[in-house]
């Protein structure tokens, strides 16, 4: 564990946290600076505490530890309260939208009957409403299991799907996330007796009902909620269900994939390279030698090019694969959008990141090359582009041509790994006069932050 003794923390809203504080058990005493019950104060993240090497029998140490534990106890006891004026109430519908729609229809019919009986003169609104709504396509997932009749507030910009009655339906992860952060009061369905007052769902009940429902594993939820807390928007990817069929052409991810070569120069060079490989007239032979061939070599480049006889994989020409070609858990299950990306839930744009979720207790070995290859190939081509990438080779290599984020969840602790398909074969070092370019100049060029990480 990197015990970096740095206390520099920025609020997550502004960007990256330099030291990943979530790596370590935090001292909850520092939460006490926060004024819990006041709504005005926007709480900032407290600094971490000093730790000791080992227990000693001093009272001081015991006191500090007990204070930390008390603080933790207090922080974790903080209740989820809903103010009467702003509370948002959702209803748990175990049967999902289909069952609820049926129930609605029954109730509507009953209502209509009653209305007819009681006041025949009154014009009922329900029938015209219903007929109008019927024309509106309903796009509610069959996994959705909580509906919110009065969806107000910021959350529903990115969460949920509306039905004909303008109720918003939430997927289990969405409902659980909102309940857990204290933003949604979910009620148990009022069983047989419609008069019965509905009971609020506890956090425990929500986990019991929502985790394990509709493909939501605890690991997937940990990833979902962890990224939501940092402000990302997440939607389920087509690979969510283990039984993916090859019918997900609506995947917005597969749109931007024209294999564009960057820079006409390189394309030309590649062209000539391929031509050379297949040119039988040359005197060179890799089978019988000499590799370089007879004749006059005017330039080292020619020699190097001819020496490049080892075939290499080109991600640009790799055939795209479908999520169905991948093997769970090495399959994209979330599309992630940065807070800065304009996100419309009815038409989500191409995602900023694609995430596969792996549980260490179910998958105890590293992915095989075919598994990893299929995972990468299921993502669209995302070649390095832009002025910086053009200039800096290491950045290009690091960025790769396809990429995917693997979230490895070890008993609640999530590690994110970015896996990229680097095209080393595309980078002809011998063509760079003056050696590898990019970030070595003065150590601190514009490429400073992109220095390849030391391992």
């Amino acid at each position: 564990m990197a015990d970096v003794d740095e206390d520099v923390v920025q609020t997550p809203a502004t960007g990256q946290v330099e030291v990943d504080l979530s790596d370590e058990t935090q001292d909850f005493r520092f939460l006490n600076h926060l004024n819990f019950l006041s709504d005005a104060a926007s709480p900032s993240i407290p600094r971490r505490g000093e730790k000791d090497f080992e227990p000693n029998p001093t009272e001081h140490q015991a006191d500090v530890l007990s204070a930390s534990r008390d603080a933790m106890h207090n922080a974790l006891s903080f209740p989820r309260l809903h103010r009467p004026k702003t509370t948002i109430i959702g209803y748990y519908a175990p049967g999902g939208y289909a069952a609820q729609a049926e129930l609605d229809a029954q109730q509507d019919a009953q209502q209509a009957k009653q209305d007819e009986k009681t006041s025949e003169s009154t014009q009922k609104k329900t029938p015209p409403d219903a007929s109008k709504a019927a024309t509106k396509p309903v796009n509610v997932s069959s996994d959705a299991c909580v509906f919110v009749p009065n969806p107000k507030g910021q959350f529903f910009k990115t969460l949920g799907q509306a039905d004909r009655k303008n109720r918003v339906w939430l997927l289990p992860e969405e409902a659980l996330y909102l309940l857990e952060r204290g933003s949604l009061d979910i009620r148990w369905p009022s069983t047989s007796d419609p008069e019965a007052v509905s009971i609020p769902m506890s956090l425990q009940a929500a986990y019991a009902c929502f985790v394990g429902h509709g493909g939501l594993t605890l690991e997937r939820f940990s990833v979902y909620t962890g990224l939501k807390r940092l402000g990302y928007a997440l939607v389920r990817a087509p690979g969510w269900s283990d039984e993916v069929e090859a019918t997900e052409d609506t995947d917005p991810a597969s749109e931007p994939s024209p294999p564009k070569l960057h820079g006409p120069g390189l394309a030309g060079i590649l062209g000539s390279l391929f031509k050379w490989i297949h040119d039988p007239r040359k005197t060179a032979s890799t089978a019988t030698g000499p590799i370089i061939g007879f004749g006059i070599h005017r330039h080292y480049m020619d020699v190097y090019r001819k020496l490049a006889i080892i075939p290499w994989y080109d991600p640009v020409t790799a055939p795209p694969s479908k999520p169905s070609d991948t093997t769970p858990p090495f399959r994209v299950v979330f599309h992630i959008y940065k807070p800065s990306t304009p996100f419309k839930k009815s038409a989500p744009p191409a995602p900023d990141f694609r995430v596969a979720v792996v549980s260490t207790r179910d998958q105890t070995t590293m992915p095989t090359l075919p598994q990893l290859g299929a995972l990468l190939e299921s993502t669209p081509l995302d070649p390095p582009h832009g002025e910086k990438m053009q200039r800096m080779m290491y950045m290009r290599l690091r960025h790769g041509y396809r990429n995917v984020v693997m979230a490895v969840v070890d008993q609640g602790v999530v590690s994110y790994l970015r896996i990229a398909d680097s095209a080393f074969g595309k980078e002809k070092l011998f063509e760079n006069k003056g050696g590898p370019q990019g970030n070595k100049r003065g150590g601190r060029g514009p490429g400073g932050p992109n220095k390849p990480k030391r391992r």
């Binding site: 997550p12 058990t25 819990f36 993240i45 930390s68 009061d185 490895v408």
Partner: protein, 317 residues
């Protein structure tokens, strides 16, 4: 706060994982049994960050198993247990709602009081500033709570009061305010309780699930735990467990731990890599395993006694 929950503590088994939702259980297991788990939930008071997390607490199967074997905990199929929500008696349902409402009212009042206090404090500060201009700075300094103050008074009164509200495990709590303010009020805050007990009653022991299935590393886990170490999942740091000499709230970890079967072939390079990794962060690399297999003994617990461990550090030469 040093309350002792009723034993055995029910561990919620949800979709193949082991979770705790009761803060008293979490605090108790940490204090008395050196079991930390991993907090995975969002803290409602600061929901937009990942540094401090809240309930539920996820336990490793090893932790759950250890507690079950000790007789401290039992495993409850929480999804099944919640089926009885449908069959709740009308009477219980009503009583529970009344209790919640009483608590909600209490929370509202607390909230209003707190606002009032803040207003007063602000007013006082302003007056002080005016009256004693030269001393204004000092006054402001005193009003702002210094970090030391916060440390010495970890539980502020109001927080403690709110905590009381949610001592839901105590069966006597709900009936406390039941008689007062039964009328529905506009002011009562809605509450999402942490646990479902009440309104549900604790599942009978006949419904408990068997002890959790544990990985082959369990004997080493249990051995280190029996020596007083606190263990956390370690993959993030390149090992199986990280072992702390005391509560991780207070102490740095001592070891990166990897378990091997007794006769399992160890790639010597892995020992070098582990030793290097540990030494780089001032930790030892600890390997170990049980000499006895399950064929040799009657129970998993018997294997723990046959565990041997070895600590590795770079020799510096």
């Amino acid at each position: 706060m040093d309350s002792q929950p009723d034993l055995p503590i029910p561990i919620s088994y949800v979709s193949g994982r082991y979770l705790l939702f009761s803060i008293d259980a979490v605090t108790y297991l940490r204090r008395e049994h050196n079991i930390c788990g991993v907090l995975i939930g969002t803290l409602p008071q600061i929901p937009q960050q990942n540094v401090f997390l809240g309930l539920p607490l996820e336990l490793m199967p090893e932790e759950a198993r250890l507690l079950v074997d000790k007789g401290v905990a039992c495993i409850v199929d929480e999804t099944k247990a919640h089926d009885s929500m449908n069959t709740l008696l009308e009477e219980d349902r009503r009583r529970y709602l009344r209790d919640l409402e009483a608590q909600g009212l209490h929370a509202s009042r607390l909230h209003a009081d707190r606002k009032e206090q803040q207003k007063e404090q602000a007013l006082k500060n302003r007056i002080n500033d005016k009256n004693a201009n030269p001393k204004a700075k000092a006054a402001a300094g005193a009003a702002a709570q210094t970090p030391e103050d916060a440390l010495s008074t970890p539980s502020k009164k109001d927080d403690a009061a709110v905590v009381d509200l949610f001592a839901a495990e105590d069966p006597s709590t709900p009936s406390r305010d039941a008689s007062s303010t039964p009328t529905p009020s506009q002011n009562a805050m809605g509450i999402t309780p942490a646990t479902s007990y009440p309104p549900l009653s604790i599942p009978p022991s006949s419904s408990h699930l068997p002890a959790p299935v544990v990985p082959p590393s369990y004997p080493l886990f249990a051995h280190l735990h029996s020596r007083g170490y606190f263990l956390s999942p370690g993959l993030r740091f390149g090992c199986q467990y990280t072992a702390y000499p005391g509560d991780p709230l207070r102490f740095h970890s001592h070891f990166l731990v990897v378990s091997y079967d007794w006769d399992e072939n160890i790639d010597l390079m892995d020992l070098i890599v582990g030793g290097r990794l540990g030494t780089g962060v001032k930790k030892g690399f600890l390997i170990g395993g049980a000499e006895k297999t399950l064929d040799d003994v009657e129970s998993e617990a018997d294997r723990v006694d046959s565990v041997r461990t070895f600590s590795l550090e770079w020799a510096g030469m």
